[in-house]
């Protein structure tokens, strides 16, 4: 594995600020970023990502090249929650098993954004439709997670399913990505140039500040896991690697390009800590966010950001 790549990734401002955020929690600094600002930064990142993806899409040709990765995305978001639920069901109550399955079947937009920023640094092209893949993968796993839980509950709670399906398709962050994707797709080149100093120029800087907040949040939520068994920690480390490995093997075989394969791998390996807790608190309040949030945010997210990005990329490079 290319040690240069690890260093470049580790010494990039977003990763450094993420580590800085973890550090702030470790030394018990009183540093805090108002949640309203975190929401603004996240809104900006989704906006910027969507516009950029839409622009790429406007220049691309469509065809199998485009549809294949989207189909892989759909398959991943169906298979991952099923196999993880099957594994967890024997070791855990249904509620938490379903919630963890949804968590690992869904994706993390911030991990994706960091991966995009890594690809841009490395000068590797990727398709705008990968942004659509991100949007597509956010919700199905959540619906499946709730379906799996309901299938085991005595009293069928159809209202919880309704809630979660509605949420899955009207989810704010999915909406912003898709909207920005469409805008990027249909605006003129001149219009795009007008927006670029904002959407493109500020990208790395805003991402860095956002990652500082992610570090603060990941650090403060990690605490919850300490008292739990080793199972959860192992799961959070191993499942992303399995998902990544499978994707890394399948993509070249399907003829998916390097950049797109890398982004699919990141999607497969990443876990949700935004959409899933929101959906679960409404639909399955019995599931304990003190378990699945530290898993995805406190372990899997740093794993992917710090080790995963250079690792997956190096492995893929060997195959291309």
């Amino acid at each position: 594995m290319n040690t240069d790549l690890i260093l470049t990734n580790l010494l990039s401002p977003p990763v450094l600020f993420f580590v800085g955020g973890l550090l702030a929690v470790a030394v018990r600094s009183d540093l805090e970023i108002p949640p309203e600002i975190a929401r603004f930064l996240s809104l900006f990142l989704l906006f910027s990502l969507g516009i950029k993806g839409g622009r790429e899409l406007a220049h691309s040709e469509g065809g199998l090249e485009m549809w294949l990765p989207l189909m892989v995305a759909v398959v991943l978001s169906l298979v991952v929650p099923l196999y993880t639920f099957w594994f967890l069901r024997k070791r855990l109550d249904t509620y938490n098993a379903g919630a963890i399955a949804a968590t690992y079947g869904s994706v993390s937009a911030v991990t994706f954004v960091t991966a995009v920023s890594f690809l841009e640094g490395a000068g590797v092209p990727f398709g705008g439709h990968m942004v659509a893949a991100l949007a597509i993968m956010e919700s199905p796993a959540i619906v499946i997670g709730v379906l799996l839980i309901n299938s085991q509950r005595k009293r069928e709670s159809s209202s919880s399913l309704r809630k979660v399906v509605r949420e899955a398709f009207t989810n704010g962050s999915v909406f912003v990505i898709l909207l920005s994707l469409v805008v990027g797709l249909i605006i003129s080149e001149a219009q795009y140039e007008d927006v670029r100093p904002f959407s493109d120029g500020l990208f790395k800087g805003m991402l860095s500040l956002f990652m500082l907040d992610m570090g603060l949040l990941a650090g403060s939520r990690l605490g919850g896991l300490r008292s739990r068994g080793l199972l959860f920690t192992l799961f959070s480390l191993v499942v992303p690697l399995i998902n990544a490995a499978v994707t890394i093997l399948v993509c070249p075989w399907l003829g998916i390009s390097l950049g797109n394969a890398f982004l699919l791998t990141i999607l497969a390996a990443s876990a949700s800590y935004i959409a899933v807790p929101a959906a679960m608190r409404m639909a399955v309040p019995q599931a304990n966010p003190g378990i699945f949030v530290p898993m995805s945010l406190g372990i899997t997210f740093p794993l992917n950001i710090i080790v995963g990005i250079p690792l997956y990329y190096s492995l893929l490079e060997l195959l291309y």
Binding site: P35, A38, R39, S42, S173, L217, S220, G224, Y273, I274, A275, P277, A278, M280, R281, M282, P285, N288, P289, G290
Partner: protein, 100 residues
Amino acid sequence: MGHMENIKRVEIIIPQPELEAVLVLLEKAQVEGYTVIEKARGKGQRGVQDARGLTDAFSNALIIWYCRPADFEALEENLRRVLNEAGGVCGVSEAQWIAH
């Protein structure tokens, strides 16, 4: 003291994502008024809510509702059901209010 009317002060604390559903309950009961404070932190049977992060998943909302005893009783069962399913508490105290 001028004219003061006896009334109930109902305080409902629920998960923020459940807020709209509870307000719909109140609307359906055609209550005269209520006040809502959002994004509160808290702790309860379902763990700590720190009101942070990118969604309302870890926030609570607090509803203050001054009403006549009968109004509260009419809603009590529905409220109990929501609290049992989604969590939270509902406290009621005696109050007077400035009739206006």
